[in-house]
Symmetry: D2
Subunit: 143 residues, 4 copies
């Protein structure tokens, strides 16, 4: 999952950032959208007790939420005419307990098709330990 590292149009990035800002859940989790490039997006999530599970680590649902959103933003970068985005489905493996002070979710487009966009996502903690791996199918809604 190497970065394509291509910037996107400033208006398009502003529109994706506005979409992200309107996610109630991202605000509730205290997640922030770090970067948006062509086919790739990065979201940060600080550790906090209000997003834990019973062992005191970050809940799988919160980890999933940020990597799903990173994949969704990544998919949006490749379609300027999109009216919205639906997550069709995803699968996540949890590779290590989500302990650490901060988590970084990266979503990357593997294939942008006419109807469906396939993404891979990863979440790492602040020591570089990979805590989750996602494979997702997104549907970009077109006008």
């Amino acid at each position: 999952m190497e970065s394509m590292s291509e910037p996107i149009d400033a208006n398009h990035e502003a529109s994706i950032r506005q979409g992200f800002a309107s996610h109630g859940l991202m605000q509730t989790l205290h997640a922030t959208l770090e970067s948006v490039e062509a086919g790739r997006a990065v979201i940060r999530l600080p550790f906090s007790e209000h997003i834990t599970q019973h062992h005191g680590y970050v809940h799988a649902g919160a980890i999933t939420a940020i990597v799903d959103t990173a994949c969704g933003c990544a998919a949006m970068t490749l379609s300027t005419a999109s009216l919205g985005l639906l997550t069709v489905e995803y699968k996540v493996n949890f590779l290590a307990p989500a302990r650490g002070k901060e988590f970084v979710a990266t979503g990357q487009v593997v294939k942008a098709g006419k109807t469906l966009t396939i993404c891979q996502g990863t979440v790492e903690d602040d020591s570089g330990v990979q805590v989750a791996l996602m494979q997702a199918t997104m549907m970009v809604l077109k006008g």
Copy 2:
């Protein structure tokens, strides 16, 4: 996914409910654990703006969090000696936008193995529309 409808030992249920109450994320989402039976658990989630995505529906991550937790609680019901539970992985299909006033997640054990427990989960809105379908692999940690 029919209910097995067998009650479990009261101490065991109390311990699972205590575990649920210690999930910071479940409190943050305002999710409640409705019922715990042998091989099955049900969680309720009221709609609220603080858990939405950009279209104003409930975020896939919040839907995933409740059905993951329902599957986890269901897996716990079948193991009195468990010390904890890890979600190994899951896959979720989103069948309809999560609009509605309330959502009910049901987790059901399909097979409880020596090391791994396989579960199915569903989420319905308050009109009975199925919004998500999960297939999950859990690892029950034993003493």
Copy 3:
């Protein structure tokens, strides 16, 4: 996953059976299409050494092939105008080693959407032991 048990139009069933007969792989595996109803299809696979893995059980790939095809046929039953079918993705859990004399794969539509059809599938051996559980996304191609 209860059967809807509704027969479909005889011409439509003939067309699905013709499609099945044209799968080189189904012939190679010696799989047969047992039944086709509205939203549901059943495929049988006899045990044979030419489809095994290294422990002598039926290979996960052969089990997957029949339950994928059962889900695909099930999806086709709900669309008379379809020009074909693509498997978008699937996830399979293997619940028990595939030993036994015969295997029965059942594919069932969970939701038939405008673009995508979501199916669940199961495979049982001839003792009724569930060996696999699938959740699949199909795309029915329309004219």
Copy 4:
């Protein structure tokens, strides 16, 4: 999914190759094990009509079988004391129709845990088009 490119012990490789040769299904599909390195294995599959689906492309089940086996062999490379391997579950996205003269499946270990090994797999056709993407959970059986 970069190659770790480390050779493994010759006896260990011979044992994995012997295991592969005992898969009835791999012989039936005419698949060959091209390379086995630390954490990585590559399998080749020539196109043939006996492994097709109804559109004449290679059946998703055959594509899945080779990438599952590549992931399994990759997992085996990291455990010299293993007595066998079980596929716990996998998820596959199909990115393009499997047309072409030959297909190359690569399985790569993402994390080798005490009980479970997580792998990613890809299948490319002979033009370099990616036709499938797998995320799999394997259980290496230890003595």
